[in-house]
Every structure is written in C-alpha cells, then in structure tokens.
C-alpha cells in the first residue's frame, strides 16, 4: 500500500517538474545578456557572421516558442542538452559534480545533527539554565555568521596556524581511492583504503563545519522548542508519574515525538544542501554543484542552468517524499 502511495506521489510531481522547466526557461531568457556574446568576450575583429554562426549552433537564433518546444521535447527524452561553454552534454557536467556535493551535504548534516540534537534536548530539559542560554546564544551566532567569513577564519586558524587540516580540495593527489560511487569516503571504506579515508575526512572537516554551522543552529532551535512543547504534555506527565526513569522519559517519550517538526526542517535543509553551496564550494575549492550553477548563470549557459535547476527540483521532490515517509515511521498514526 505504501509503495502505491509513493508511486502516486512521484507521478504527481511530474506536472510540477514541467512547470519548473518552463519557468526556468522563461527566467533565463528574460535575463539580460547573451551567451554567445559572453563567450566571445573581449576580442577584436569579431564579425556578425561569426556571432550568427555560433547562435545558430545553439539554436539561439530560433524564436522563443520554438526553443522552448525543442527544450521540452529533449527533456521528455531525458536529454538535458549541451552546455554552451563546456562543449559537453549537460548531464555529464552535472553528474560529475554530484558526488562532491552529496559528500559535503551528508557530512555537513551529520555535523549539524551531532551538534544540534544534544544541545536542543539539553536546552529544553534545562530551560533557562546557563547551558540553555549559552547554547541558544551560540545558535543565534551560528545563524548570523556568514559562511564566507567563518570559512576563511577556519582556514586561517586550523590550516594555516595549527596545520590540522588542508586549506582546500577534496583529497590529496595520489591518494584517491578506486572510483566506485565517486564519494571518496565511501569508496575508501569499500576498498579498505585507510590512507584515502583519513585524507578525505581531513579535507571534509572544515567545509562541513562551515556549511553545517548554520544548519546546526536552525535545528537546535527547532529541537528545543518542540521538546519544550512535548515535555509539557500529559503523556510525559503520566510517564513521570509511573516512575519511568528521567532519561527514558526524555529520550523515548519526548524526543521521538519532538522529532516530527525536526524532520521537516532537516528535510528542507537536506534539499538545500544537496543543491550545493556556492560560497563554501568557492572558499574550499570544492568542485560541487553550487559553483557550477552560479557560474552557469553568470555565463548565461542556458542549457546548463536549466538542467541544474531540474536536478534541484527533482532533489526537492524526492527529499520531501522521503521526509513524509519518515513521518509514518516516527508516528504510525500519520499516513501518506
């Protein structure tokens, strides 16, 4: 039954995807700027014929409705087109960035959860204590701290002065594990390559912390407030009255219920993280999707932007679905 429901949800997402495709197409064309003009750049002796030839090559000379029809037609066949600047199929360009993006997203989220869950729970249990105030102040700082600043500070302190972590990149040259999934950490584990694992993890620490700090702050605040709410409910009172140990009350009775709003927030954040983060990727020389998309937007590389946004949209649809499925496990009363 659950399987059928999931399939229904996936099918329902199709019209959304088509809508997104059209909106992105329109937005890109309404933006001032022309990809061929940007590609030619600052050169002397550029002829109209040369510009026209290149425009025709990328079908930019055709009327907009024709371009849109061509694009949707290709999309229906699963073809995302050909990147104007990189002279390669869009799908290849995007696929190449996915492992780096996923790896960073997973570790940022892991960092965020490891920090935020205990802080949120303890702050709620010890409301108004010094710990509560300090961690909420920390969360406030985490939300307000811009990634470009935190990232640079991390590099200066931990890479330059302490020398604990490398400044940037994903792994040192020569240490890459054999490619299976493209996720270095996972590949290193699968192949039992400890040196690669260690080096990949060292490279992951600073970008994950920089990217995860903001997420941790949001999650900690959500956990705290939903815990506070749950701790005041009758069933928690009852559990305590029955003489259940306090730790068990907090973790088994309260936290599980408090997790539902948390899962919603975490789901949204995962969606965002999987889209890549241009700033963190730029600072840490991380070859992910965020950098790719921003670069494509500035270059007006229409097919690449359109393709990337479709990947974003798909990711969000899937993450939302996963979140909803997760609800049903956390609270069997909820159904899809």
């Amino acid at each position: 039954m659950r399987g059928v429901r999931i399939l229904e949800r996936v099918l329902a997402a199709l019209p959304i995807m088509v809508g997104i495709a059209i909106v992105v197409f329109a937005f890109m064309r309404f933006m001032p700027g022309d990809p061929v003009d940007i590609m030619i750049g600052e050169a002397g002796g550029v002829s109209e014929a040369e510009i026209e030839m290149l425009r025709a090559q990328f079908h930019l000379d055709k009327p907009l409705p024709v371009q849109l029809a061509l694009y949707l037609g290709r999309l229906a066949r699963g073809d995302l087109g050909y990147s104007i600047f990189r002279s390669r199929p869009v799908i290849d360009v995007i696929a190449e960035t996915i492992p780096a993006t996923v790896e960073l997203a997973v570790f940022s989220m892991l960092f965020a959860l490891v920090v935020a869950l205990p802080i949120g729970v303890v702050s709620a249990v010890r409301q108004y204590s010094l710990l509560d105030r300090a961690s909420m102040a920390g969360a406030f700082l985490g939300i307000s701290m811009p990634a470009f600043w935190l990232g640079i500070i991390c590099i200066i302190v931990f890479s330059l002065h302490l020398g604990w972590f490398p400044t940037s990149g994903r792994i040192a040259y020569g240490l890459e594990p054999r490619t299976i999934t493209g996720l270095f950490v996972l590949d290193a584990v699968i192949t039992g390559n400890l040196a690669a694992l260690w080096d990949a993890l060292r490279h992951l620490v600073l970008p994950s912390v920089t990217l995860g700090a903001g997420v941790a702050a949001v999650v900690a605040r959500v956990v705290r407030s939903s815990m506070l709410e749950v701790l005041r409910t009758d069933y928690v009172l009852l559990a305590r009255a029955k003489g259940v140990a306090e730790a068990s009350v907090v973790i088994r009775h309260a936290l599980r219920n408090a997790l539902i709003p948390t899962v919603t927030v975490v789901g949204l954040q995962v969606g965002t993280l999987l889209g890549g983060n241009m700033i963190v990727e730029t600072i840490f020389g991380w070859p992910g999707l965020g950098r790719l998309v921003v670069d494509a937007i500035f270059a007006r590389d229409y097919p690449l932007v359109q393709g990337s946004v479709m990947v974003y949209a798909l990711t969000f649809v899937l993450v939302n679905l996963a979140t909803d499925v997760l609800y049903t496990y956390l609270n069997p009363k909820i159904s899809l």
Binding site: G44, S87, I155, T167, R291, L292
Partner: protein
C-alpha cells in the same frame, strides 16, 4: 492732504518696480541671455568589484558641484542598458591579448564596433585604425596609431583611466619563474627546490575544455599551453618567437609560410608534420568540424582563408587581406595530432588530450584539478625561451581555487607553489613572508570610465574634458589599489604596439574642470 502726501511717497518705488519688470523683458528681445546655470547630475554605474573606485570618483565630482551617485550592477544587465543608450557614465574595462590596439582601441572606439559602449564616432580616427590594420609596414602602422592617440586625446570620449599591475606569488623554492603579461603560466622552465611536483593555484572556478579548439578563455589556455605547443609563442613581455615553427617568411603581404621543426613528437609517439598543422587550422575554420560543433575560435584568426601543405614540413597560410597581427593571433593556437583525433574522435580527445608540449595529460577534472606529467620526448621548446629541453619537474598540478584568500593561505601552508592574481590589499602582507616571493607584471587590461557621447551632457566635449580634469586618479589608485596601477593618457596600453609615451594623462585640476563646466553652462561650486 496727508493721504495725498502718503501716496506721493510711494511713486519712486512703483517707478522702480515698473522699470525692474520692463528692463529684463526688453533685454530678452535684444540679445540671447545666458541660460540659468543648471546642476550637472549623473549616476555612476559600476560593477561591484569597482564600487570603491566609483564612490571616490563621485566624491571628486561632488567637490566641483556635480551631483553624482553610484549604482552597482551585474555586468550583463548594465551592458544591456548601456547599449540601449540609457546610461551616461559607466566604469568599464577591456583586456587585450594581441599586444596591439587591434583588440582594444579598435573594438572599443571604432564607429559602431562591438565594444564601443561610448557611441564614439570620428571618421578620422576610424581611418587611422583602418590604415593600421591593413598595412604590414610597421612604420606606417605606428604613425597611424600615433595619430589615433592624438585624436582620442583631443576628443576625450572617455575619462581615461589606468592599467593595473598583476600580482602573482610563488613559494621561495620556485626558480626561473616570471609572471607573464598575458597571464599565462609556462611551467616548462620553472624549477622547484625540494620536490618534483609543482602545484598552481588558478584564480578560476573551472577551465572549459582540454581541446585547444573548443574554448575562448585565457585560463583554459594557460593550462592547455603546458600540454600543447603552437607554431609560435610569446616571451613574458609579449614578443612573438618561433616554437614549433623554425622560421617563417612573407612571400606576399597576405601570405605566411612556416618551416616546421623536424623531429617533434606528440605524447603518443606520433610525429608532428605539416598534415597536423593543416588539420589543426582546418578543424577551426570549417563549420561543424569538431564532432558536429564549430570552434568558437575561428574569429580569432581574422581573415585567414586557407592553410595548405607545401611539403612535409612547410605550411602556407593565405589571408583574404593583409592582417598585421596574424603572428600575435597564432600564439593562441596550439597544434593537435591529426591521426589520434581521427582515430579516437573529438569527444575522447577532449577527455584524453594528446599534444606535443612539455607535459602530458595524466588525469583531472575541469572544475577541480588537472594533473600532468613530464613528457620525456619533448623536443625542447622555443630556443628563444631558454633553457631548451625536457621540463625541469616531473609533475604539475593546476588546481581551481577561485577564492583569493584560500589561494594565499594554501601558498603559505605550502600546499601550492604558484598562485595567480593576488588582490592588491593582500600583496603587502604576502611580501613580508620569507617563504614567499611576490612578483608583479604589467597587466594588459584597460580600466576607464566611458561616457555616452551621443547624448547630453556628454555630447559636449567641454563636459567630457571637465570630467577628465575633475577626477583625482593618482589619489584613487593609491588608496583603492595600493598604488598598483598606472595611469593612461588614452586607451592605448604601453605593452601594445604603437603606444605614444609622450602623451601625458590629463592632470587633476578641479579649477579647470569647474571652468570648463561653467563654459558649458553648468553650475559649479
């Protein structure tokens, strides 16, 4: 009685009032009066990276009574408005790759040319440029360019600006390294004291291709040039010297014949001869010749019409008309192996490129890092760029590191050995580090303020001249760019052919600016 006396007392006043009202009216009929001085008010458009400079310019203009404010734009959005004629005063810049006004002054100022954002048009100037671009006699060209500079100096279509010093840095253990004016990094000659791998921190996010025919970008070429060689190359200061070509001759003004060095091998062992050279250029000239795609580099070859093999080691290039910057253009074209590409196809060639340069491709990703290893069968490279022979180090890695602070931290931490583009405000700190060497080289990009000369107020040369006198460039360049910039009298660069060093930039003279504005009918402070 009292009443009558009272009335009489007002008569003189009424009389004066009547005269006061009448006289100006009469005067109007007799002579054209000076119009009431109006305030010159303008918006200074700039991209975010030049905002500080724009603010300083606005402050200078306000000092003389011009109402000026700054607006920050994304470039493509601004450009669209500029081309629609909707902007007045904008900070722009334009780079030159050919060491000749051909790709700077011509596209920027020739009537209706592609980069002419100021809408400047002067047939006399156009004629000079035409003359310089169709003759291959250096004296004629130089004379034409000198005259063009005089015309620009008088017409002042822009507030002429400056060029910057490009700052690059390397680890102290790096030897025989010199940043080049065209910002390419040639690692063939560079040595490393301890270790066998040189890592370069590139300023870019990504390079766009490893196929020398499939890009139109400097950073991409910087990387590619270490795997591929061209018929000719350039010294760090812009002189064209032979590389794969041994020598060349001009049997006619529009014909170039190149003798190719014998015994050159590609990384796969294939021999390089005239067929490869002809193939390289035909691949670019013919539409759809690269796996159905056309090369975006065709236009850079100017009027090149055909390339023919004369014998196994001689190639003839025929141009539609004489093109004096042809050799400078050829520097940017690298020779590719015909047989290999025919065998594996263009797509695979772009993934596993094979050239005849000092390093061969090992592995890499365009947005991450490109790893190359020394090619032991290298013919040695240009004899004009000693030492000749295989590269000094075993391996080189180009890493894409778009953030300048990260590049600098990585250099200091010893993770990379050479970095591109050090921001001027970070250079001083780096210079104090004993583990680092900082070198500067003249940039080939011209920064200026363009004005829309087709519309008021800048259709009046007095107003344009006033703007040139009103801006305290020396002070701005000192405070904003740490002195790492040099003023220009026009848009001709000293690194380019035909630069007139005797023309001096307009000095900062607010009094003169005010006087000019006043003459043009504007209120001044």
């Amino acid at each position: 009685m009292r009443k009558g006396v009272g009335r009489a007392r007002y008569w003189p006043l009424l009389f004066l009032l009547a005269v006061g009202l009448l006289v100006p009216g009469c005067a109007k009929k007799e002579a054209t009066p000076e119009p009431a001085a109006k305030t010159l008010s303008l918006v200074i458009d700039a991209e975010a990276n030049r905002k500080d400079e724009a603010e300083a310019i606005a402050a200078n203009l306000r000092e003389i009574g011009v109402q000026a404010e700054v607006r920050v734009w994304e470039w493509s959005a601004l450009k669209e408005k500029i081309l629609a004629g909707e902007r007045q005063f904008y900070l722009t810049d334009w780079g030159s790759a050919y060491f000749d006004p051909f790709d700077l002054a011509v596209p920027k100022l020739k009537t209706k040319d592609r980069g002419n954002y100021s809408f400047y048009s002067n047939p006399e100037f156009d004629a000079c440029m035409e003359k310089a671009l169709t003759s291959i006699d250096e004296a004629t060209r130089k004379e034409a360019y000198f005259k063009a500079q005089d015309i620009l100096y008088e017409d002042v279509p822009w507030v002429f600006g400056y060029f910057r010093q490009e700052v690059e840095a390397a680890a102290a253990g790096i030897g025989n390294w010199q940043p080049s004016m065209d910002s390419r990094i040639n690692l063939h000659d560079v040595t490393l004291k301890d270790g066998d791998t040189i890592v370069v921190g590139m300023k870019t996010n990504k390079i766009v291709s490893l196929d020398p025919a499939m890009h139109r970008e400097r950073d991409t070429e910087t990387v590619i040039r270490n795997m591929f060689d061209g018929l000719v190359t350039r010294t760090w200061d812009g002189r064209v010297v032979p590389e794969i070509a041994e020598s060349w001759s001009n049997p006619a003004d529009n014909i170039y014949e190149f003798k190719i060095r014998q015994g050159i091998k590609f990384h796969n062992g294939e021999k390089l001869d005239a067929d490869d050279v002809v193939f390289t250029f035909e691949r670019i000239l013919q539409e759809g010749a690269i796996g159905g795609q056309s090369s975006p580099r065709k236009g850079l070859l100017g009027p090149l019409e055909k390339v023919e093999k004369v014998d196994a080691y001689t190639v003839r290039f025929t141009l539609k008309n004489p093109f004096p910057v042809f050799l400078q253009a050829l520097v940017h074209f690298q020779i590719v192996p015909k047989d290999y590409i025919k065998k594996v196809g263009d797509q695979e060639f772009a993934e596993k490129p094979v050239g005849c340069g000092p390093f061969k491709f090992k592995e890499g990703r365009l947005d991450d890092r490109i790893v190359m290893e020394r090619f032991d069968g290298y013919y040695g490279g240009s004899p004009d760029l000693p030492p000749v022979g295989p590269a000094a180090v075993k391996r080189v890695i180009f890493r894409m590191m778009p953030d300048p602070a990260t590049r600098i931290a990585a250099l200091k931490a010893g993770e990379v050995h050479i970095i591109q583009q050090v921001p001027p405000d970070m250079a001083a700190d780096l210079e104090r580090d004993p583990k680092v060497q900082v070198k500067k080289v003249q940039g080939t990009r011209c920064y200026a303020v363009e004005m829309n000369v087709a519309k008021p107020p800048f259709d009046d040369v007095r107003v344009r001249l006033a703007m040139n006198y009103a801006i305290n460039w020396d002070e701005i360049l000192k405070t904003v760019y740490g002195g790492g910039a040099t003023r220009l009298a026009t848009c001709f660069l000293p690194s380019g052919f035909g630069f007139n060093p005797d023309l001096k930039p307009y000095p900062y003279d607010p009094e003169k600016a005010k006087q000019l504005l006043k003459e043009a009918g504007y209120a001044v402070k």
